[in-house]
């Protein structure tokens, strides 16, 4: 019997191997009771090491995992995305320090699952085969299902987990159907081979498959009209996990979208650009308009995250190196902004007191000036006001749109960005210009040092990147240079 051995380049998946190994290490160490206090620092340290492993390959040639079918590649795009995920993961762990401890979910599993989810995200960004993509998506999703429901004694947490699980299973089904149709139309699941097969023009079978794939990924990035789970799940999940979901899993979804739409199906642009621009505008409109009437902070941030997914979809419509680079840059900034905003909620509600409604943060500036300041920076940045990084990120996307003659889309984006000012600034108004009702005036709780440090670092990074973003924009441009 003749067996063809693939020549495997292990170093092409070194960041993912490092992440999985770290996750297993944290899982095993977390089994010992003596580790309970230190396990989170071990997890953060291991994540930092994984970041170094990923960074060490920066700037090199793209390396494919196997010579039979590439499966996964290590290029600057993978590294940049992985670093975003790792940064998000470290911030998630830090903002959950006393939050998790108070709710008794600070066991090894909690941190191990976060690490497993990050390894799934990283592999998702690296995947150049539909099967690798699906496998990594499941690694990410299954970890998230458990993380959302990890507060199993709280009914909201259970409800969120079940909702996300059922809808996520449906989305996986759509993705599998899409993969089957694309395979039927091209005879391959390898991105390069699919790209070759479709270079002749549009193929109805492949187009249907691409549409189903878009439904599945659209669910993960909460694109309208597949967004309805977002506010419910973010509200019920533990707050650090909401932050993690709104940044990490969304970023992973966009990394795949960039690979699929910009580098695999560029020849079919005439077919998918009208569809995607329509969906992007719908997503921006739904996110921003429904956010106007929200009074719960986590739901407000959920609708804001839907709106931001819309802006990033616009960048995919713009396409080209500028469009892809602007998505990567936006994802990084967006991770920092959302981590800061959710982080403030997590830090304030760490000791069990809720901090969900707008009335709960009334007069926050007097009680907790530092979290209030961080929240204000995050809100200004989410709204896109200079000199915060949110402005630069939005500016970059709209520039890419205008350069590719999508003037109407750019105008719609800017207009809705103006609408979003209302609800972002309303949070600041409540924090700084209203007095706390007597019932809310609690003795000021001690905030965890790790959590406050994490949100302060995010806020500082937002301002720093708003003033001097050029080196990161250059990195993002280098990251996508090998994609086309």
């Amino acid at each position: 019997m003749e067996i063809i051995f693939p020549v495997v380049d292990i170093s092409a998946v070194s960041p993912q191997i490092a992440l999985v190994t770290s996750a297993i290490l944290v899982l095993v160490l977390g089994l010992f009771d003596g580790m309970r206090r230190v396990i989170l620092y071990i997890a953060v340290g291991l994540l930092a090491i994984c970041g170094i492993v990923a960074t060490s390959a920066w700037g090199g040639e793209a390396r494919a995992f196997s010579d039979l079918s590439a499966m996964a590649v290590l290029d600057d795009f993978t590294i940049f995305s992985t670093l975003i995920f790792i940064a998000g993961g470290i911030l998630t762990i830090l903002i959950s320090v006393s939050y998790a401890e108070h709710r008794r979910i600070d066991r090894g599993e909690y941190y191990a699952l976060i690490l497993f989810a990050i390894s799934g995200m990283s592999l998702m960004a690296a995947s150049v085969n539909l099967f690798t993509f699906f496998l990594s998506l499941e690694v990410l999703s299954i970890s998230l299902y458990v993380l959302i429901g990890i507060e199993y004694q709280k009914s909201e947490s259970n409800e969120s987990a079940l909702k996300y699980f059922l809808l996520g299973a449906f989305a996986s089904g759509f993705i599998l159907y899409g993969i089957a149709l694309i395979y039927g139309g091209t005879g391959s699941t390898d991105f390069a081979a699919i790209s070759d097969q479709t270079s002749g023009g549009s193929n109805l079978l492949v187009l249907a498959g691409l549409g189903l794939l878009l439904v599945g990924i659209g669910f993960k990035i909460s694109m309208a009209p597949f967004h309805s789970w977002t506010p419910d799940v973010y509200q019920g999940a533990p707050t650090p996990i909401s932050a993690f979901m709104s940044t990490g899993s969304k970023a992973a979804g966009f990394a795949v979208l960039v690979r699929v739409f910009v580098s695999v199906f560029p020849q079919m642009r005439p077919d998918w650009v009208p569809l995607l621009s329509g969906l992007a505008v719908l997503t921006i409109a739904v996110g921003n308009l429904v956010a106007l009437v929200q009074t719960d902070l986590k739901r407000l941030l959920a609708y804001s995250s839907i709106a931001h997914a819309g802006y990033m979809l616009l960048a995919i419509v713009a396409g080209g190196p500028e469009g892809s680079a602007s998505i990567l840059f936006y994802l990084l900034i967006y991770t920092l902004m959302n981590m800061a905003a959710f982080g403030v909620i997590a830090v304030l509600s760490a000791k069990g007191d809720t901090c969900h409604g707008l009335t709960d943060i009334a007069g926050l500036a007097k009680r907790h000036p530092i979290p209030a300041m961080v929240m204000a920076v995050a809100m200004f940045s989410l709204a896109g006001i200079p000199p915060t990084a949110g402005f630069v990120a939005k500016f970059y996307i709209f520039t890419a749109l205008i350069q590719t003659d999508h003037i109407t889309l750019a105008i719609i984006g800017v207009l809705f960005s103006g609408v979003s000012l209302f609800y972002y600034l309303r949070v600041i108004v409540w924090m700084y210009m209203k007095d706390a009702p007597i019932s809310v005036v609690t003795p000021s709780v001690r905030l965890s040092i790790g959590g406050v440090a994490a949100i302060c670092v995010s806020a500082l990074a937002i301002i720093q990147l708003g003033i001097a973003p050029s080196y990161l924009i250059e990195m993002a441009q280098q990251a996508v240079s090998l994609l086309q």
Binding site: M1, I3, F5, I24, L27, V28, L31
Partner: protein, 116 residues
Amino acid sequence: MVYLPLILLVIVVVILALTIITLSSFVGRKKEYFEKLASYECGVPIQDTARKNFSVKFYLIAILFILFDVEIIYMYPWAVVFKDLHLFGAAAMGVFFLMLVVGFVYEWKRGALEWD
């Protein structure tokens, strides 16, 4: 029309099955007694109704059983061509097995295998 025989076969099968079931329910002799109508429980006399509470621990055991059962299935095809796969196969399965052992250690240490 290459599928015509297949369609004909489906039609014939459906009609035949319906005819046999209808005929036997009308013509056949019926002798009903308790043991015959009772639900099948591996041949043992039935204990109780199936709709009753049972310990959630069975569920955990069942899940763990399915997990490890399915993982073992991957080893059969590997074992058949073990010699042809040389070191490559051994290394690949080694990694897979290591992960499996980690899962086993985890469930053991967490106490999932203890009944109380």
